[in-house]
Symmetry: C2
Subunit: 227 residues, 2 copies
């Protein structure tokens, strides 16, 4: 092994012969690596893969494409939280130029995903789908995507709150800064989405996304409404 | 008015005479500003302040000082989520150099706070306290800080989960990357803290903080354990 993984092993971990390392195979199992040999250029590792990766988050995300800097940080949050299906969608308030950003290059995205999987001890690469046309996506593809899930739009002014979230799979739609426009909300509602309130503050996307995903997937107790 | 607020009004909002703007007074009320005059250098605004800022989050945060880049982003999450009392604390795994970062300069911190308050339509500046000595802070100051709150340590391997969180005020302790060491956990427990599980993934600080604060303050339904 050479490259950035070797650099990490030799310079950060400062591993020596016979040391044990945490390893994982992309889209495969987790396990242990034993350092057999380490030189100035490479290391030889004997690998045992015997542990399943952590369970994925029970959530599919639709995210109105944010500007590139925010996109990068938000994709990291999404990946470490275990979301495996991400649809980047268009919205009236998404600047057209955002679809041209180099951050959306396949290789750049894969780097973000791999780095985040390493941080969170996971191996399963998320799937990312780009949907630059709102209407055909919502009309033709979304009905299948939300099957057997609870379709949720987060809105700070919604009257309804979610109760009893445990054991459910959600499809969460997060709008752009400034929110979805009424036409977009209408189309999502026609498809089966409902607006829910997760607190009344207006949050930037990069805070709202990890916050709401955490509420929907990490409050590991059940919740019921107690007036 | 001149400076960055004038730039925003003239270049982003492109306001004209008689336009209405959202305004707020630092640590005071929110309201409306009417553009009386606007030139190339400044604008004159007539201000009415008649609305209370949003309620603060019912949470006090102890955060093991992260590295500067992460600190900056994490302080933004904390501020937009409405936390008003933040203690940056030391831990064995906090690199000593982090306490010397220019990000901790009073003016830099205030910029981060103001910018985040503007984004979230709030006026109340958080209070930030630096506590570079762990033991005297926990022994001498923490007992008073946690009075009438539920003191919580987030830990991905804890057996307990929190139930019935609504209407409570929390003091949340978040450790450094790698976690608090056993001695630190022991000292926090002696003070009254308990470890709770908010999901089993190991998260970077900048994801864990908005996630757990959201769970504790934004799940606006009550929660009870349903087996």
């Amino acid at each position: 092994m050479s490259g950035y993984r070797f650099d990490h092993i030799s310079e950060i971990l400062k591993s020596k012969k016979n040391d044990l390392l945490q390893v994982g195979l992309i889209n495969g199992k987790l396990g242990t690596g034993k350092v057999i040999e380490i030189t100035g250029q490479y290391t030889d590792i004997s690998v045992t893969l015997d542990k399943d990766p952590p369970l994925p988050a029970s959530l599919t995300l639709l995210l109105a494409l944010p500007r590139p800097k925010i996109l990068k940080r938000t994709l990291k949050h999404i990946t470490v939280l275990g979301v495996k299906k991400i649809f980047l969608i268009n919205s009236f308030r998404v600047d057209k130029s955002y679809w041209q950003t180099p951050v959306l290059d396949k290789e750049k995205i894969k780097d973000i995903f791999l780095n985040s999987l390493e941080q969170s001890c996971d191996t399963v690469l998320p799937e990312l789908f780009m949907k630059p046309l709102f209407k055909p996506f919502v009309e033709d593809e979304l009905p299948d995507i939300i099957k057997n899930t609870i379709p949720v739009i987060a809105h700070p002014k919604a009257a309804n709150t979610l109760v009893d979230i445990s054991g459910k799979h959600f499809t969460l739609a997060v709008g752009p800064e400034g929110g979805f426009i009424p036409y977009e909300i209408k189309k999502l509602k026609e498809c089966g989405f409902e607006e829910y309130n997760f607190g009344e503050r207006i949050l930037p996307v990069e805070t709202a996304v990890p916050g709401i995903i955490s509420i929907l997937t990490r409050s590991i107790h059940s919740c019921v409404d107690v007036p």
